[in-house]
């Protein structure tokens, strides 16, 4: 390890000890800072659960207690009665599941075309994909709503899924994925008489599986947490997804913070569990967005 010149002027034995001491300090500092950061990251979660376990008359007592003196599940019971959790959960699953399936499936078509086929205006189309990736939502919010309204899709699954069914980012990811293997594979298959859909199915998908999996994960995550569009389109309690249900509950339960925190915990749980289950893919997926951008 490159030490300071001062250290280097000392005898080797002392140098080694110095080295060990400074290394120890560095180590402790490293872990110390990381732990502190981890605590800060976790604190709001802890506070959320802490509040949700307090009996309702204790939520406003000052000073706020770090651990509930009399933990009670009343808040959760109240949430279960007043917020239709199973319904929202189901809706979220349907919207995200169907949405991701449509997205990755059809995006792979476009990605394959952009990566492996030759056709006029290919560059234009690709440019369109890139441009659409940075188009801010502002400009589309109202017209999109009115369009969906005109099609009679307000408050329906189709209305929530379709406008963002196939996303440019996923197309981009798929294209990247399919660029990783040589065109030769495709050419050879064409010579053999295969049609492109078969190539897609038999060659492209298997090779690009990791990337496609990333696309699935990242899309599911994005779709599950989406707020703005579902907020505008979903109008009734029967069709709400988890984030929307939570925001409604937040408005409805007013100052009952124990219930609101319980609802927040319940809403956060599914995606957290999913994350724990496929942690690797999740982190890889999120990182990928940063690298490939």
């Amino acid at each position: 390890m490159a030490g300071s010149t001062l250290t280097q002027s000392l005898p080797p034995r002392v140098q080694r000890r110095q080295g060990q001491l400074s290394s120890f300090i560095q180590h402790s500092a490293l872990y110390g800072i990381l732990l502190l950061g981890a605590l800060i990251s976790l604190f709001p979660f802890y506070w959320m659960v802490n509040t949700s376990l307090k009996p309702s008359y204790m939520i406003f007592t000052y000073p706020p207690t770090m651990l509930p003196a009399e933990p009670s599940l009343n808040a959760y019971r109240y949430v279960w009665e007043t917020m239709d959790v199973p319904r929202s959960l189901l809706n979220s699953i349907v919207v995200s599941g169907v949405g991701v399936a449509i997205n990755v499936f059809f995006s792979s078509w476009v990605g394959y075309a952009l990566a492996k086929l030759h056709f006029p205006l290919k560059r234009v189309l690709f440019f369109l994909v890139l441009a659409l990736m940075i188009l801010p939502q502002q400009i589309l919010m109202i017209p999109l709503f009115l369009q969906v309204n005109r099609l009679g899709l307000i408050d329906t699954f189709a209305g929530v899924i379709l406008p963002y069914a196939i996303t440019p980012f996923t197309i981009y990811l798929c294209r990247q994925a399919f660029l990783t293997f040589p065109d030769d594979y495709v050419d050879a298959a064409v010579i053999d008489g295969a049609h492109h859909f078969q190539i897609l199915l038999r060659i492209a998908y298997p090779i690009a599986k990791p990337m496609l999996l990333t696309a699935v994960v990242i899309n599911f995550y994005w779709s599950w947490n989406a707020f703005l569009w579902p907020f505008l389109v979903i109008r009734s309690d029967e069709m709400t997804t988890l984030p929307i249900a939570l925001s409604r509950y937040h408005a409805f339960a007013d100052q009952r913070w124990d219930a609101i925190m319980a609802a927040a915990t319940v809403v956060a749980l599914p995606i957290l569990l999913l994350y724990l289950a496929v942690q690797r893919q999740f982190v890889d997926a999120l990182t990928m967005t940063g690298l490939k951008g």
Binding site: L34, P64, I142, A189, R202
Partner: protein
């Protein structure tokens, strides 16, 4: 005849190498199947992006009647009104305050954490990584609501903890001065983990040869970071800054849930203002104008930023 499965590719590949690429031999012909492949996407584009885009532009210079589905051209009145609208400029100003705080802070924090996580002597990297990224995993709604509760002036835990440091009750979300910075602070906490992931991946992808060579040359740690690693990470930095700004200018959920636009519009953002004008007041033409104008501003800013950052040398 060989089936084109993955494992038999090499044999097939050999064949094509002998014949040369089939498709480049057929000059002038293109893959018509591409039409079919891009059709679903194009359909969605036309219905849900291009047509609404046209509506947005035309609608911003027209008077909308949603019941009768008519739009009558009224000229640039909406834009003129927008130009003298104090609320709109307040929203723009708020957005800028937000990104000026949030983007540098979360990027710096993320970079710092990434450096720590990248330490060769660290054990349990996956564990720490997992924790730092937790805020990013849960829906924004959850964190916005939890932080709103933590920020409560009289009964919130943040003010309680601060009281140990002798700091009085800070009106985080209920004062004009602090509402936007408070939201920014929350998002910094939220996004540090995300940027840490980006930078960590970047750091781990740095060519070992370059780093080793530098070390041999006697470069110390600080110089290593400042003059070698950071410049090599420029793509990640550029991407993070540009996307961070883009996301930051588009926030909606946080101000909506935490402050509803804040005391006297101090945490209003353009998206929130657009929502209010369009969906609460039914002033659709005007809302469209807000959408068009703010989109233009954002796009210009994004391009300028990208240019500046890509050219700059660290």
């Amino acid at each position: 005849m060989m089936q084109a499965t993955g494992t038999e590719i090499t044999q097939v590949g050999g064949l094509s190498k002998r014949l040369g690429s089939v498709r480049t031999r057929r000059r002038g012909k293109w893959d018509r199947i591409a039409i079919l492949l891009v059709t679903p996407w194009l359909l969605q584009l036309v219905f849900f992006t291009l047509y609404p885009l046209y509506i947005a532009l035309y609608g911003s210079v027209a008077e909308w009647d949603i019941l009768k589905d008519t739009m009558t051209y009224i000229g640039f009145d909406n834009y003129i009104k927008l130009f003298s609208d104090a609320e709109f400029f307040k929203a723009l100003r708020n957005s800028f305050v937000y990104i000026l705080i949030q983007v540098p802070a979360s990027l710096t924090g993320g970079f710092f954490v990434a450096l720590l996580l990248n330490s060769s002597s660290l054990r349990g990297r996956a564990f720490f990584r997992g924790i730092y990224i937790l805020p990013v995993i849960v829906p924004v709604v959850v964190m916005a609501i939890v932080w709103q509760w933590m920020y409560a002036t009289n009964s919130g835990v943040i003010n309680y903890l601060l009281s140990f440091l002798g700091i009085g009750q800070v009106p985080w979300l209920t004062s004009e001065r602090f509402s936007m910075p408070s939201i920014a602070l929350m998002k910094v906490w939220n996004d540090v983990g995300l940027y840490a992931m980006f930078f960590l991946a970047g750091l781990q992808g740095l060519s070992k040869d370059v780093l080793d060579a530098a070390e041999v040359d006697g470069v110390n740690k600080w110089q290593m970071i400042r003059h070698i690693k950071l410049p090599l990470l420029n793509p990640v930095v550029v991407f993070s800054v540009v996307m961070g700004t883009l996301w930051g200018l588009n926030i909606f959920t946080e101000p909506l849930l935490m402050t509803e636009g804040g005391p006297r519009g101090s945490s209003l953002t353009t998206l929130l203002y657009l929502y209010r004008e369009g969906f609460i007041w039914s002033r659709l033409g005007y809302a469209n104008a807000i959408g068009v104008a703010s989109t233009l501003i954002i796009l210009v800013l994004t391009f300028v930023q990208r240019r500046l950052l890509e050219r700059s040398s660290w």
